[in-house]
């Protein structure tokens, strides 16, 4: 039956629309109640700084998941990008090093994109392979040890703030705004979303869907490499371990942000909130001195809850 008529927002619809925001607010309240130092400037600055990288990665992941794919390689691209950047910095200029690192990230994404879009392989398998290979290369390049970076201006950027907010955070906000705009107002964003909704219908509409599918992996790789550079500016070293598990964090963020893993549904704004939800959960547990192992358990359970809530809403709508 078709139901027509005036549109009154029901309670469940309200929750569906705002659940990410609600979760966000609840966590802020819990955080300020549980701990005395959560609301301190020092902690909030840290929070922003620590999550700039993963926030950028999540924006790339959003594009990939919108097409119905998944990118498991982002964590390893952070690792290999981090090492390559530190390695290049020993002998080359900052600009050159940044350029090469970004190129490597984009290339990793292009490999995934090629096999997914033009060879019809499963994104999960393809990016899993790229993930393994990239991590391996990270170890090979630095022979297992970490490389330190000595570039005062660059390290200053990592610690620097502008108007009290970490400089890295501005970059993340910039990328967020870009993705938000692209998804909301451009043909590219529309097509990427449509591919996740029904790829064959998009193709039969006379759109070269493969190019778009290919491109999201390149963007994701590029963003991961960007995160790698930000990370080294914060830590001052290139280590092959960097970015371990980032892919799962990024996926968790998108899920918390209400993005459908089947593709075709998701917005940049909610993913941004998801970044801070995940970030704050970790932050609260650090402040309350919950052990790292327990943190894993709690994070996992929260993600499970988020996904479960989404399915409940879907059912109530049907």
């Amino acid at each position: 039956m078709e139901k027509k008529g005036k549109h009154k927002i029901t309670v469940s619809e309200f929750f569906e629309k705002w659940n990410t925001v609600i979760v966000f607010c609840v966590i802020v309240i819990i955080a300020s109640l549980l701990t005395t130092n959560f609301m301190q400037v020092q902690n909030l600055t840290n929070l922003l700084k620590q999550n700039a990288g993963i926030g950028i990665i999540a924006m790339g992941m959003l594009l990939v998941i919108l097409t119905g794919g998944i990118d498991l390689s982002v964590g390893s691209i952070v690792g290999v990008g981090n090492v390559i950047f530190a390695f290049m910095m020993q002998t080359h200029s900052l600009g050159y090093s940044i350029g090469v690192t970004l190129l490597v990230g984009a290339a990793c994404g292009a490999i995934s994109g090629y096999f997914v879009a033009y060879r019809n392989l499963q994104p999960f398998v393809v990016t899993l392979s790229v993930m393994t290979v990239a991590r391996g290369y990270a170890y090979i390049i630095c022979k297992g040890a970490s490389i330190s970076i000595k570039h005062p201006d660059f390290l200053a950027f990592g610690y620097g703030t502008f108007l009290g907010i970490p400089k890295q955070t501005y970059l993340m906000i910039l990328i967020f705004l870009l993705i938000w705009f692209v998804l909301r107002y451009t043909t590219y964003g529309r097509i990427v979303t449509a591919i996740g909704s029904n790829e064959e219908a998009v193709r039969l509409s006379g759109i070269r869907s493969r190019i778009y599918k290919f491109s999201v992996y390149v963007v994701s790789g590029l963003f991961a490499a960007t995160a790698a550079i930000l990370n080294s500016s914060r830590t001052g070293v290139g280590s092959p371990l960097t970015g371990d598990g980032f892919e799962l964090d990024a996926i968790a963020i998108t899920v918390i942000g209400g993005v459908s893993l089947n593709g075709g549904k998701g917005t940049a704004g909610r993913v941004l909130i998801g970044v801070f939800v995940i970030g704050m959960i970790g932050n609260i547990m650090n402040l309350t001195k919950v052990s790292a192992y327990t943190q894993q358990v709690v994070k996992g359970l929260i993600i499970l809850c988020a996904v479960f809530m989404q399915t409940l809403q879907k059912k109530s709508r049907a």
Binding site: M1, E2, K3, K4, G5, H7, Y185, T186, T187, Y188, R190, T193, A194, S197, N198, E200, A201, V202, R203, L204, S205, G206, I207, R208, G264, K265
Partner: protein
């Protein structure tokens, strides 16, 4: 003794969130008869049958099966009472054998282990009873759709169904298969099974049924014995108004050739097909499922790779190798299966309508959303798409309106040739007439249209000329004055292949 009823549904009422889906509907099925249930989409047919199958719970009313009142509301309970439903989407496990599917929920036949011999034997008996030959050991996925449907029927009978409900069973069948199915249903009727037959195809309803009940807006509008009513009466009952004819009057097509297809080949399904299409012409491609009409249509558009042959569009040779090139060439293609690859159900009407013509409403890849909305609202008005405006989710629309959204998408592209593959499949009669009107209007404006359809009535009613296809071969082209259902069938079966090559040529 009066009439014996297999099922009596009395004053059934069902509401969804305050909206009446059914208002005191009474519906009786006499034992051993075929009772057709017709009505537009949203009239309440499916809701009524879902109550009968136990998938929905009624708000009030009574269900009496073979004299016993049943509370309903449980699919298992209704199955036990003897009601079997066959939906449009089959509920078969494709990897399992026919016998396994028939006995899916009791493969051990009440014993502690599976006796394959007995299982296959008992399945064979049931299939024999229907009057068909299917090997019980064969995997279901290897069967044609028609045979799968027979397996569904066998499954219901295996569960001892005495009332069988079929929802649009012929939507995917060829006329030959449809005839076979009718034989089966008549056979079952003789054996005392009562059948509810839901269909949009009224000619079939009149061929098959003993009684016809028409539903409109959740109420029974009429209930007649089939021989005592007429097609016109049923159509006006369904629509709530009288209609003259389903099809608009044909206007003359132009003489200028727009598209020429010469010796088109694609695998086994398109074998040296040739024809010419004129300006303002509605050109039909008729044929059964598997005749190659869809493949021919897709090859001209460029949907599939590997087509050979010559396609000349307005004097220019083209080689469409992808839909992208097809659209660029000025050829558009409305696909056969709306839900699978026609419209994006999760997206808004607005986003669907401009999917193929984004450049019209954007600049440097950035949308001019206001302009887009205005344009789409205009299309919604022009095609009278029933919705809450351009921001409605396409998946919330009825089949007919979804199809209009799909049409709107292609009308937004400036094309010379519009190919429509099964333009009215699964569309109810009101929307069908509107779609026919749109097609007619486009042709009058000088667009050339190709319609591939397995509904022969539609082909005869709409087209100027028709290419008849059978097993990938062009069997001949029928001119307007020769267009009858009989001639199409005759042409598709009787012409020998040599003749057909000649006849198919230009």
């Amino acid at each position: 003794m009066g009439k014996q009823y297999a099922v009596e549904m009395e004053e059934i009422t069902k509401t969804f969130g305050g909206v009446h889906a059914l208002k005191e509907v009474s519906f009786q099925i006499e034992k051993g008869t075929i009772h057709a249930l017709v009505g537009e989409n949203g009239a309440g047919k499916s809701t009524l049958m879902k109550i009968l199958s136990g998938a929905y719970t009624k708000d009030s009313g009574k269900i009496i099966i073979e004299g016993k009142e049943i509370s309903g509301g449980s699919t298992l309970g209704m199955k036990k009472a003897g009601v079997g439903i066959i939906y449009q989407e089959f509920a078969l496990a494709p990897d399992l054998s026919v016998a396994e599917n028939i006995f899916i929920n009791r493969m051990n036949l009440g014993k502690g282990f599976i006796s394959w011999k007995e299982l296959n034997q008992r399945a064979g008996e049931i299939i024999d009873k229907i009057g068909f030959q299917i090997e019980p050991r064969q995997k279901v996925e290897e069967l044609s759709v028609a045979y799968q449907q027979i397996v569904e029927i066998a499954k219901a009978l295996g569960e001892d169904a005495r009332v069988l409900v079929l929802d649009e069973p012929t939507a995917v069948l060829s006329p030959y298969e449809t005839e076979k199915l009718f034989q089966v249903l008549r056979h079952l009727r003789e054996q005392g099974t009562s059948i509810v037959y839901i269909s949009h195809r009224l000619d079939e309803v009149f061929q098959l049924s003993d009684e016809i009940t028409v539903l409109r807006d959740g109420e029974v509008v009429s209930h007649n014995r089939t021989e005592e009513t007429s097609m016109d009466k049923i159509v006006s009952d369904m629509l709530g108004r009288s209609v003259q004819s389903l099809y608009p009057e044909k206007t003359a097509a132009g003489n200028e050739t727009v598209l020429e297809v010469k010796d088109l080949n694609l695998g086994n399904m398109v074998r040296s097909v040739s024809f010419a299409l004129h300006k303002g012409e509605i050109f039909g491609i008729a044929g059964l499922v598997g005749s190659g009409k869809t493949e021919t249509a897709r090859a001209i558009f460029g949907a599939d790779k590997g087509a050979r042959g010559e396609i000349v569009l307005k004097g220019r040779k083209i080689r469409p190798a992808s839909p992208y090139e097809g659209v660029k060439n000025g050829i558009t293609y409305l696909s056969e299966s709306r839900k699978e690859d026609g419209v994006l159900l999760d997206m808004k009407i607005r986003e669907n309508v401009t999917m193929a013509s984004m450049k019209k409403v954007s600049k440097c890849m950035v949308f001019h959303i206001k302009k887009e909305k205005k344009y789409v609202e205009e299309m919604i008005r022009r095609l009278s798409i029933k919705s809450n405006g351009s921001e409605t989710l396409t998946g919330d629309l009825s089949g007919g309106n979804q199809q209009k959204v799909s049409l709107a998408k292609w009308l937004s592209v400036d094309s010379d040739v519009l190919i429509l593959d099964e333009p009215t499949r699964g569309v109810d009669i009101g929307a069908k007439m509107e779609i026919y009107g749109i097609i007619h209007e486009l042709a009058r404006q000088g667009k050339s249209i190709i319609i591939a359809s397995s509904e022969m009535e539609e082909i005869c009613g709409l087209c100027h000329r028709v290419l008849v296809m059978h097993k990938g071969l062009a069997k001949g082209i029928l001119e307007q004055e020769e267009l009858t259902k009989h001639n199409i069938i005759h042409c598709s079966v009787n012409n020998s292949s040599e003749q057909s090559l000649k006849a198919g040529g230009i």
